[in-house]
Amino acid sequence: MSAVDKAVPRRDARSISEIVNDERFRSIFYQIIVAVAVIWTAQYLITNTAENLQARGMSTGFEFLSSTAGFSIAWSIIDYEAGDTYFHVYLVGIANTLIVSFFAIIATTLLGFVVGVMRLSSNFVVAQIASAYVEVMRNVPLLLHILFWFTLSSALPSPKQSLGWLDSFFLNNRGLYVPAPVPGDGFDIVIIMVLIGIAVAYGVTVWATKRQMATGQRFPAFWTGVGLVVGLPLLAFFALGAPLTFDYPALKGFNFQGGADVPRAFCALLFALVLYHTVFMAEAVRAGILSVSHGQTEASYSLGLKPSWTLRLVVIPQAMRAVVPPMISNWMNVVKNSSLAIAIGYPDLVAVFMQTSLNQSGHAIEIVAMVMLFYMTVSLTISAALNYYNKLVQIKER
């Protein structure tokens, strides 16, 4: 008590030097300085830009989004015509970016697992092949990968000499032609069955876990689930008389008609993204597995747990903590790096919106902001998911 009593009068009489040297005062003081500097800079940039734009007679605002774009886009995954609006172009760009990123992320993740495990193989040849892959791919810039595959694909034969497979898949110097699925009457029931299968499989897993905990009996929940997810839709599919046909591509004149076409630039971009980003996934997997000490496996074996259970219950849960963060940042990089598509004319978001639309409409600030907004939304969504995951699996230590 007495110490506090003494301290009170001293406080009132604090000298300037005492305040300046106070830890809390300093922290608040610096924060105010930084905030003022940021606000002033932003204010300067905005007014300055607005004045310059006005001086050049350029308008600002988002009204241009509803006006007609008027240019054509080489390829788009969603419907687009030259008469559509700039906003529609924005959506086309986003869709094209997302579709190539989606396939790249799936392939990268699977291939990365394989290469990462191969690098740890006790088989010398297998391990060396994987190491060589990692070293070669990692040390070539991504842009070079993209240009390389694009250039190489131009050496593919012309449509008339296409490389064909089963008379349904054709590869030539214009792109890849594949059969397009045409859903018939009742195909939506098959889709619904897939969803029902997933839901039931999930229910079975929960039930099986509960029962095992209660009675010790195990149930082959995984294979039952696979059976449900695959079997239910298959049953429905055949019961409904196979309501799905394919539209096959066929050579008519100088090019293919029908089916679905995937342009050469898409293939080259996808190839390059996958080959390059697989390396980082492989390294994450390798590091993750190495981060689990051999002692963990030995302890598990010594308790009588089989190798497959050891992997599932002991090694993988621990390895995933180390694999997931770099894996997810790799996914973000795939999405961002897909914007290098501009180099080979694949119509991704940056190409159709930041290049063509920007040049035509002149709304640089708005367009750049919208493109940034898209990439930031994707990145922030992914990293929010990552933070959530990290919280879930954090190892508790003192």
Binding site: M213, T215, L303, G304, W309, K396
Partner: protein
Amino acid sequence: MSLDTQLPDDGVHVASAISDEVVIELASVNKWFGEFHVLKDINLSVNKGERIVICGPSGSGKSTMIRCINRLEEHQAGDIIVNGTEMGTNIKNIDAIRRNVGMVFQQFNLFPHLTVLENCTLAPIWVKNMPKAEAEKIAMQYLERVKIPEQAAKYPGQLSGGQQQRVAIARSLCMSPTIMLFDEPTSALDPEMISEVLDVMVGLAESGMTMLVVTHEMGFAKRVADRVIFMDQGEIVEQNTPDEFFTNPKSDRTKLFLSQILAH
């Protein structure tokens, strides 16, 4: 002469409970790491209830020998028979042996992603198909026996080394093994934690468990061991009762080794 500060050197020896039944039989076991001959013609037979302490200089093959008993290492020649089951490449036999043989490691090797209780129930649930409630009940009994039931909900990283090692012992015991292997269970511990682990091991000895313990805790050997085995350069050089072993070592290598650990 006190070789050990952790247990009182009062000449008390835990009553032996050795039966006639042989539970571990090593016959002419040989093992190589590449060119290196790590186990040379090891012959050892352990009876049910017998407690054996294994000592010897670093690199003499102590760990390798006991790790062969639950197949964490593979031997290349000779026979190992555990509880009447022949150790070979047969996966069913290996599983059966591992279910009956518990092991405690120098580095504890608890599963850091699971709580203390989950560490103890994992194997009973998966290997013995035990209901969770029953597994937890048994786990709590063993955690009480190693005197840390209050830590059940914590994670291994939140415990001291001594506590972690006691959890590791409880985790092994939850599988109701008939044989326990210990590989330098106190070597990674701070001195003040060694005795809490040794106390648990003495208690286990009193319950009649068959134990093979690699340790340099000579006080523990005197109190608990029915037989002390001295290994050097991959061979069993000498084995005897603790009394004879410490007071009347036969080989020069044993004498040299004992004088070295005495000097500490």
